[in-house]
């Protein structure tokens, strides 16, 4: 009998070698190996996911039911259970903590929708425009990928430099050179900070949409366009009737991924605004970070994170439901 043994640490396996060319290997050997193999292949990924994502997440959820402030941080196991108190505080929209969380949530939703929308529009437009070969296309395509390739902090710190009130390029152009505003505006504090955040996010994010859509466009057979053109369809019509529907599966995935990534984005607002973001641009990831790390209130911070996770689960679930139903009707 062949035995397949595995040790979790190294994925080592010992199997009795099959004689070459044997088309009918002993059934039992083959089946055990076949059954065992996929699980073994998956083992490293599973272990890592457990260690880094799942177990800490469960601990995080447990923490949300405790009153975990600076007094108990040394030995979080001894922190007193507080039941749903942290959740009640977070969801009590009449009290300042809950109110601030709701405000932050709404800002993040608005920001994410706008950012994803703009990224997708610009990315798709660029991909469509760049489909045909023209002089300099390769160079342009390489240039367009640069914002996405830059590390987050390098890109964002440049924008911070540009958005400075006194010495920044943005005010220099808008106020000093183009005279569009009568005095230099503030971009890193105050209401304009939302616009600043949006600009930075779109600048960094649109090349990803561009890349994905461009890849998807390559799969659309040229004959479809040729046939439509011969039928007399104009450019816009071709885009509406051929391009967009063919891109549907790509777009569905792209929009979902962009939404999740943008909603959870911590790096961009943190480098742009530091630990205390202005109200107009208080994204939920930095808000929760401030509620937990900066004010030493980990119980509430964890509760807020769990609520955020639940929201994203619901959104993803609804989205997948709608899109799969849509796909069914489209196939009709």
């Amino acid at each position: 009998m062949t035995t397949t043994t595995a040790s979790a640490d190294t994925g080592e396996r010992t199997v009795r070698k099959n004689s070459p060319g044997a088309a009918r290997s002993p059934r039992r050997t083959g089946r055990i190996r076949r059954i065992g193999l996929p699980y073994l292949l998956l083992l490293p990924a599973l272990l890592l996911e457990l260690l880094v994502h799942l177990v800490p997440m469960v601990i995080g959820i447990v923490m949300s039911f405790k009153e975990l402030t600076q007094f108990y941080i040394r030995d979080w196991g001894t922190a007193p259970w507080s039941g749903f108190d942290n959740y009640k505080v977070s969801l009590d929209f009449n009290a300042p903590v809950g109110d601030a969380l709701l405000h932050s949530f709404l800002v993040t939703v608005g920001f994410t929708l706008l950012s994803v929308g703009l990224c997708w529009l610009i990315g798709t437009a660029a991909a469509v425009f760049m489909q045909d070969t023209f002089r300099g296309r390769g160079l342009l395509r390489a240039l367009f990928l640069v914002p996405y390739a830059l590390p987050v902090y390098a890109a964002v710190i440049t924008w911070v430099f540009m958005f400075q009130h006194d010495n920044g390029l943005v005010n220099h152009v808008l106020h000093d050179q183009l005279h569009l505003t009568d005095k230099p505006s503030f971009w890193l504090i105050g209401d304009n900070s939302f616009v600043a955040l949006l600009v930075v996010s779109v600048w960094k994010g649109w090349p990803f949409a561009f890349l994905i859509v461009m890849a998807g466009l390559q799969n659309i057979p040229k004959e479809l366009y040729e046939a439509a053109a011969l039928d007399g369809a104009g450019m816009l019509q071709q885009i509406r009737r051929i391009t967009l529907p063919s891109l549907r599966p790509v777009n569905q995935v792209l929009i979902l991924v962009l939404f999740l990534w943008t909603f959870n984005d911590f790096n961009t607002p943190y480098v742009l605004f530091g630990k205390a973001a202005p109200e107009a641009a208080d994204l939920i990831s930095v808000h929760i970070y401030q509620a937990s790390f900066v004010t030493w209130n980990f119980g509430t911070g964890s509760a807020m994170s769990v609520l955020l996770l639940l929201f994203l689960l619901v959104v993803t679930g609804v989205y997948l439901l709608l899109t799969s139903r849509g796909r069914k009707t489209a196939d009709v």
Partner: protein, 299 residues
């Protein structure tokens, strides 16, 4: 024999019927305008970064100037001493490199399993792994760090504050997206090729490495690039999980702005230096990236 004479061509005017395949003029116009504006939008910050890195300090502490008053390479020299940039660079390289290699290997194995086999729990696995995409980082930041500390205490393997812990973390971050992309890509490699290899006597792993992987190189490259970029640019976990010796660039660059005088020209120079490997690699491999994403995205 006289050469065939061509019938005189009517002059090309705007009324000339164009071939139906050629894009209309309005399209060309709008394309020109759109791409020009987009190029400006993309280029301006890049120009600011490059030009500011070559400016003397006076230029970057006063009103913004489009052109430097004098070109100087001093910032590129100073950045290495103001902050231990070389050490951060090495740390980032080690962490991102190791995370990428491990992530790709594990993703290849996992995607192969999902793509080629039907087994109980397959759906659960894919859904679980993919759903980790939506976990907010802050939720498991503190618990993960506590877990690392406890593992360190129990087994003596120092995960907290070490590069290894960060490598483990980053490689897990890029795993879901990588697995998912590779599943799509492996699916597009025909099964018959596998079967043929199996009949020839290769084990399943042999089929994997001899047939599937070579056919999926673009996808694998795409995944590797993604994993590297994720690890190179991550800020939150790096700020909590590193100490002075193991600090990565992501956190280290912030050292330029906590000084009493903000040396913008050095920050720009450091940003450029730090970005060059990633951007260069990205651009060199973009061909693979595009083809690699095609199959995965379409799935």
């Amino acid at each position: 024999m006289s050469s065939t004479t061509r019938a005189p061509q009517p002059p090309l005017t705007s009324r000339t019927p164009r071939s139906p395949m050629a894009p209309p003029r309005s399209f060309l116009w709008s394309r020109g305008i759109f791409l020009t504006l987009l190029t400006v939008f993309v280029l301006v910050p890049v120009y600011v970064m490059i030009s500011s890195s070559l400016k003397p300090l006076a230029d970057v502490t006063g009103k913004f100037r489009w052109l430097p008053s004098g070109l100087t390479f001093r910032p590129y020299i100073d950045i290495w001493s103001t902050v231990p940039l070389a050490r951060y660079f090495v740390n980032s390289l080690v962490v991102a490199g190791a995370a990428t290699i491990c992530s790709v290997i594990i993703a290849v194995f996992s995607a192969y399993a999902v793509s080629r086999y039907n087994f109980r729990g397959k759906r659960v696995f894919t859904v679980t792994v993919l759903s980790t995409q939506m976990f907010p980082g802050i939720l498991f930041l503190l618990p993960l760090f506590l877990l690392y500390v406890n593992i360190g205490n129990a087994t003596g393997i120092a995960l907290f504050g070490s590069r290894g812990g960060l490598i483990l973390t980053y490689l897990t971050f890029s795993l879901p997206f990588s697995i998912w992309m590779l599943i799509g890509y492996f699916d597009s490699v025909p099964r018959d090729l596998d079967e043929a290899a199996l009949v020839d006597g290769c084990g399943p792993l042999g089929a994997l490495f001899r047939i599937v992987v070579p056919a999926a190189i673009p996808g694998i490259v795409a995944v590797a690039v993604y994993a590297f970029m994720t690890a190179w640019g991550e800020v939150l976990f790096a700020s909590v999980m590193t100490n002075d010796t193991t600090r990565t660039l992501a956190v280290g660059l912030q050292g330029y702005s906590t000084l009493n005088d903000v040396y913008w020209n050095q920050i720009m120079a450091a940003s450029l230096v730090v970005s060059v490997p990633v951007v260069a690699g990205f651009l060199l491999l973009q061909r693979y990236l595009v083809t690699g994403l095609t199959a995965g995205a379409v799935k």
